[in-house]
């Protein structure tokens, strides 16, 4: 494991899956009160298609920052993030937005559903960026809700749903545009154990049956057990790898 600083490959030597995510010499800094803080330091990482990666580490270790960079929500200070061969730092803001719409599904700890829309409306929202007509969008959103087991709550507003149900809606929203990658920021952090297990089982199912690549930040060791690969981070560097 001491060789991780050079490069961390999570590829099983017998696994010939394509590389989906490639981070090279990734460094990320930001300024606070005139002081420059380094959040990620010269990080190298490769994740292959179909991997389910759990990212663990103490608060402030850079997990969420890494997730934001992989999801194209933030720009690297130096180094390169390549997803499916596309260097994200080369993309303009609008191209990056298009890329996010097509490639990444986001799942947050606090669900982040739009409160004014129904469950169906929330799931349908990303499809406004596609060429699908209204009927097709609705059909596809209903299918996504069926996959996450919420066929009977489609017209409910988020405030009328439990935490677990809201997270299922959020997963359906992340799925609906059929992205290659799902990034999950503590998806069970706001849920009780049983509900958390249901959500994690759902993610596992999406990974195994639908082939979705999942990168999940979590503090919960039990949640990490659902992943096929576990990465530990601290102070902006990768410390260990377990597959």
């Amino acid at each position: 494991m001491s060789q991780l600083d050079d490069q961390v490959s999570i590829r099983d030597t017998l696994n010939l899956k394509k590389v989906l995510i490639e981070c090279q010499n990734l460094t990320h800094t930001y300024k606070r009160g005139g002081e420059t803080l380094t959040v990620l330091s010269d990080l190298n990482l490769t994740i292959r298609q179909g991997d389910f990666v759990a990212l663990m580490g103490p608060s402030g270790s850079g997990k969420t920052t890494l997730l934001n960079l992989l999801g194209g929500l933030d720009r690297v200070s130096s180094g390169v993030v390549r997803i499916q061969g596309v260097a994200l730092d080369q993309l303009s803001e609008s191209t990056l937005a298009d890329w996010r719409a097509q490639t990444v599904g986001f799942i947050f700890q606090f669900y982040n559903l739009l409160p004014m829309l129904s469950a169906l409306g929330n799931v349908e929202l990303p499809l406004l960026l596609t060429k699908l007509n209204s009927k097709e969008r609705r059909h596809r959103a209903q299918t996504a809700l069926t996959i996450v087991g919420l066929t009977d709550r489609t017209k409910h507003k988020p405030s009328e749903l439990s935490g677990g149900q809201q997270q299922r809606v959020a997963i359906a929203r992340a799925l609906v545009a059929d992205p290659e990658l799902l990034v999950c920021d503590e998806p069970t952090g706001d849920l009780d154990r049983d509900t958390a297990d249901e959500i994690l089982a759902l993610l596992k199912m999406l990974n195994q049956q639908y082939g979705k690549t999942i990168v999940m930040v979590t503090h919960d060791p039990k949640a990490a057990e659902y992943a096929s690969t576990l990465l530990h981070m601290d102070k902006g560097v990768l410390l260990s790898l377990r597959t």
Partner: protein
């Protein structure tokens, strides 16, 4: 779900706030239409019912009287189609609260001078038959339940009778109707000849003012010059005005109405601007995380900016459309009450278009700042606010 649906859903999210803002906009645009119409009535000039009329008054004060001899002299002028004298009669029916406008008029010419008034021939015949006959606007008669042939006692308070009493008795000959688009106020019309022979001597042969119907081919300004010129050197000089100018002058005693209307509009819209801008800003601050989520899902910066701008503009335009629609709905009622004061009161399509343009402008002004903030909203920092 569509982009329009998303805008409407956002507006519906805080219904109380949206409805209150919407109502304030509606009221502002009703006021806009109303005051624009009043302003136009005061600054524009129109001829009512295709009839040209000149109003004739004492030169130095509206409270001075003119000698009846002036009226008789003017009647002889070739530019004059008809003339009627009128005077304020004052008084009340049964109770001082029962006030309505009363005037002695030339019963033979009054309805010729005002041909747009709707009166039956038999009413005119009864008006001509008896000196004590009166013809009353329909609304006044209905208000007091008067029927043709009723004796109507009026307690005078300006003109004492020759016997020193103030008690007048009239007989209702019938009613007349004022068309909705007419500026003529409702009158209780009594005969000048009866009035003149009944009042004390010091009042006799005087009139308050006169209304002249001008021969169609003649320019009223020409007649105005002729009349005022003829009596310029007399002991009772006249001041003549076209009917529109007269109505405007009468109302302008209250002040410069057009300026007042413009100032009220300015104050109303400035207040509305502050109010709606505050609401838009509040709404934006509450939805920072939602907007960041929309961006996260792949919607571009400009889409999110337009979304925020569209909400402000939609609210303003819907408020304006509703306000304009209500104004048109109120137009008949307002005409009934305002035409006698301001003349040709009506809503104009141009003002409706102006209202919509104003709504768009207000929408842009109040929406542009939150829209710009939405465009430049950094996703990561905004999402962090939601945690």
């Amino acid at each position: 779900m569509s982009s329009v649906g998303l805008v409407l859903a956002n507006l519906r999210w805080k219904p109380t706030r949206t409805v209150l803002t919407f109502l304030s906009l509606v009221i502002a645009f009703v006021l806009f239409m109303l005051l624009r119409a009043i302003s136009t009535a005061f600054t524009g000039g129109t001829t009512v019912a295709g009839v040209q009329r000149v109003m004739l008054d004492a030169k130095y004060s509206m409270t001075d009287n003119l000698p009846i001899a002036h009226i008789n002299a003017i009647r002889m002028m070739p530019e004059v189609a008809a003339i009627t004298q009128m005077s304020w009669f004052g008084g009340y029916y049964q109770d001082p609260k029962n006030e309505f406008a009363k005037a002695p008029v030339d019963h033979q010419t009054f309805f010729t001078v005002f041909p747009e008034l709707l009166v039956e021939k038999d009413v005119l015949e009864r008006f001509a038959e008896s000196k004590r006959a009166v013809v009353v606007e329909t609304g006044i008669a209905q208000r007091f339940g008067w029927q043709t042939g009723d004796v109507i006692p009026i307690k005078g308070d300006i003109w004492p009778k020759q016997d020193g009493s103030w008690d007048w008795e009239f007989v209702l000959a019938g009613t007349y109707t004022v068309p909705i688009d007419s500026r003529i106020q409702p009158w209780f019309l009594l005969r000048y000849d009866y009035f003149n022979e009944s009042v004390m001597d010091w009042v006799k042969d005087q009139v308050g003012w006169a209304v002249v119907r001008v021969v169609d081919e003649i320019d009223p300004q020409q007649l105005i010059q002729t009349i005022d010129g003829q009596f310029e050197m007399s002991s009772d000089p006249t001041k003549s005005l076209s009917e529109d100018d007269y109505a405007r002058q009468f109302a302008s005693q209250l002040g410069d109405m057009a300026l007042i209307a413009t100032m009220i509009l300015g104050a109303v819209f400035f207040t509305i601007l502050l109010l709606t801008a505050n609401v838009a800003s509040l709404s934006f601050n509450e939805r920072i995380v939602d907007l960041a989520v929309i961006k996260t899902l792949g919607f571009g910066n400009h889409y999110v900016g337009l979304l925020v701008l569209s909400e402000a503009m939609t609210l303003c335009v819907l408020g304006a459309l509703t306000g304009v629609a209500i104004s048109y709905g109120l137009e008949p009622l307002l005409q009934q009450n305002l035409v006698p004061i301001v003349g040709n009161f009506q809503m104009y399509l141009w003002d409706a278009v102006l209202a919509l343009a104003l709504a768009v402008a207000i929408g842009v002004v109040i929406g542009v700042h939150p829209a710009a903030a939405a465009v430049y909203l950094p996703i990561v920092e905004a999402l962090r606010e939601g945690q």
